[in-house]
């Protein structure tokens, strides 16, 4: 491979890792700061991606309408796609939160898992909604006319990193505020937080919705990066499990750790691809499973031997005390 090809490859990897970093930041609010166990990230991933795709593409007309079914197509600019994805994910998180956030942690986990599977089933089966299993294609990319399409990924990398930094700063600001301290108090000891007069349910709901909105943003960025989405992308493996491994590896409760974890684990994930390329031909078809097995083992090792992750939780106090 020539140098230009290698650089293009690395840029593509950095875009995907950056999108995963945004998911990790969203999960970090829910799990790292509030202790909410969401194992249905793939659901918000899916909804965010489809929402943004349908907001930014036109509704198919003429001959295309026979082949591509979609409930609506608003043909609006990219920014509206991002905002719409975040908004819809926030509303859905709110609805899931009502029956589950008052109950124990396990219930939230099972419910989020159920919602993710249900959304995948709906998008897979309901052809009128978003073209069923074949998915949507031709999702527009922002600032496309600016450079040669071959070099477009540089622009998109800048957009992803820019949004990642904004999300990072936003969350950093939020978790250092009194609001963030209440979340951590709930995570550490719900009863004593409630005794201090904090409305546990409300704070959990705010954290859950906030995290889900950021995940929706991640889903939207993914849709515009790949330009084509179909339900099979949003599986528990790529949509949920790997994000958990990233956050646990980087350090839950640490936003820098969330970003670092996304890049490190994505690097390892891609690295194992080069490893499995060395396998004999007969085993190659099953290489992805071997790679996921390694990632699964990595999660268990982290949980047993380094549950705080690479960076560990950062001590956060009010800047007035410093």
């Amino acid at each position: 491979m020539e140098l230009g090809g290698i650089v293009a490859y690395i840029v593509a990897l950095a875009i995907t890792a950056g999108i995963y970093a945004i998911f990790c930041l969203g999960l970090n609010i829910q799990w790292g700061y509030t202790g909410l166990f969401n194992i249905g990230i793939a659901g918000f991933f899916c909804i965010g991606a489809y929402a943004s795709a349908m907001i930014t593409t036109p509704k198919p007309t003429g001959i295309y309408a026979q082949y591509v079914h979609q409930l609506f197509g608003l043909n609006l600019p990219f920014v509206f796609g991002l905002l719409g994805a975040a908004l819809i994910c926030g509303i859905i998180a709110f609805l899931i939160g009502i029956p589950t956030l008052r109950l124990g942690e396990d219930y939230l986990a099972i419910s989020t898992l159920g919602i993710a599977e249900t959304f995948r089933l709906i998008f897979n089966n309901e052809k009128w909604l978003a073209n069923g299993a074949r998915g949507l294609m031709g999702i527009p990319q922002p600032l496309q006319g600016l450079v040669d399409p071959r070099h477009y990924n540089y622009i998109y990398l800048i957009i992803v990193v820019f949004i990642m930094i904004i999300v990072y700063l936003l969350i950093e600001r939020a978790v250092r505020s009194p609001w963030g301290r209440v979340l951590r108090a709930i995570r550490e000891d719900e009863v004593s937080a409630a005794m201090s007069g904090k409305d546990i349910f409300n704070f959990k709901m705010q954290s859950f919705v906030f995290g889900a909105m950021i995940m929706g943003l991640g889903g939207a960025l993914y849709a515009h990066a790949t330009r084509a989405i179909s339900p099979e992308v949003f599986t528990p493996l790529y949509g949920t499990f790997i994000i958990w491994v990233m956050l646990m590896a980087g350090g839950s409760g640490n936003n820098k750790g969330a970003i670092l974890g996304a890049y490190v684990i994505w690097g390892i994930w891609i690295g194992t691809k080069f490893m499995t390329d060395l396998l004999p031909f007969t085993l190659k078809a099953r290489a992805p499973y071997i790679r996921f097995l390694l990632i699964g083992i990595l999660l268990e090792v982290i949980l047993l031997y380094r549950p705080q992750g690479l960076l560990g939780e950062e001590k956060k106090v009010s800047k007035l005390i410093e």
Binding site: G35, F37, I39, P99, T100, L103, E105, D106, Y107, A109, I110, S111, L113, G114, I115, E117, T118, L121, I122, N124, N125, P236, L237, F241, W244, M248, A285, R286, Y289, I290, F292, L293, I295, G296, I297, L299, E300, L303, L304, P307
Partner: protein, 304 residues
């Protein structure tokens, strides 16, 4: 419609086998075991390995019993697979959850660890057998029996109900009459009280995993006989299992049995109105309704 209810009872009895193990583990080891569905898959595939591999190699004949779709090979493979999966469940406990218990990790870390274990099991199945659907005995399905009221049922399905009935009966006798069974029920009722009465909880936890694993394996094999084997079969069972467990009140084995039957019937009856692929979603909706209106399940006292 009556036919769908009968099929639902068959499916529900399989769900019950998984849900009973899940609810015992939930009550005694005290966390949501997300690898339980994949233990069911593991049971089905270990039996497949026995039926198409080991047993054919050592020369057990492939003949089948009368109208049933399996023969001596399955009779041998069934208990072997139950024991093997009990061993796998205990092994996971010893190398993962026991260490987490010693470290005093939070409940969610256990659940996450079991989620990791679920993926590890599934990936091993995918590496060894690939992603296609498999059958214990390829070929046409045996003709169904005609029962009154236009119900068609395959002899295999009648046997499935019979096997589930025997297994649950044995487990009931074990829990009611043996010292270990009584100790298990005591631990599920009140962990602290069990500890001060001198019950060795580590030993009980090992038994719980063993029983849970064996029951899950049986459920997986029976589903494999009834429908097919697929690496994701266990994962698709996970939401029905949790729905059955929560419906029947966590920790209550008889509740899990009832819950499993209710979920199974609801899933089958739903196919009259919905695409069959929506079955997990049906279980999920029922679970959400229970959480909204009776979060402690049908057998739990409502403290709220």
């Amino acid at each position: 419609m009556i036919e769908l209810i009968v099929y639902g009872i068959v499916l529900g009895s399989i769900i019950s086998l998984g849900a009973i193990g899940l609810t015992l583990i939930y009550g005694i080891v005290r966390f949501a075991n997300f690898s339980h569905g994949d233990l069911m898959s593991a049971g089905a595939y270990v039996a497949l390995f026995m039926v198409t591999g080991v047993l054919s190699w050592i020369g057990v004949p492939a003949t089948t019993f009368g109208p049933l779709s399996f023969g001596w090979r399955m009779v041998i493979a069934f208990p072997v697979s139950m024991l093997a999966v009990a061993g796998v469940a205990i092994l996971f406990d010893q190398i993962l959850y026991r260490k987490l218990r010693q470290k005093g990790s939070g409940v969610v870390i256990f659940a996450m660890s079991s989620l990791g274990a679920a993926f590890i099991l599934r990936m091993i199945i995918l590496i060894l057998w690939g992603a296609d659907s498999l059958f214990y005995k390829p070929g046409l399905m045996r003709p169904a029996l005609q029962l009154p009221m236009g119900i068609k049922i395959r002899p295999d399905q009648i046997l499935i109900l019979f096997v589930v009935f025997i297994l649950i009966g044995l487990l009931h006798l074990f829990l009611q009459n043996t010292k270990m069974g009584k100790a298990m029920r005591a631990t599920a009722d009140n962990m602290e009280l069990a500890l001060v009465s001198g019950i060795n909880t580590e030993k009980i936890i090992i038994w719980t995993w063993g029983i849970g694993g064996a029951m899950a394996a049986a459920g997986g094999i029976l589903y494999g006989i009834d429908v097919q084997l697929h690496p994701y079969m266990g994962w698709n069972f996970l939401i029905p299992l949790f729905a059955a467990t929560i419906l029947g009140t966590i920790g209550n084995m008889y509740g899990a049995l009832v819950g499993g039957l209710v979920i199974g019937v609801a899933q089958q009856v739903s196919t009259a109105f919905l695409m069959p692929t929506y079955k997990p979603a049906v279980a999920f909706i029922i679970m959400i309704l229970i959480l909204l209106f009776r979060p402690k399940g049908i057998f739990g006292e409502n403290s709220k």
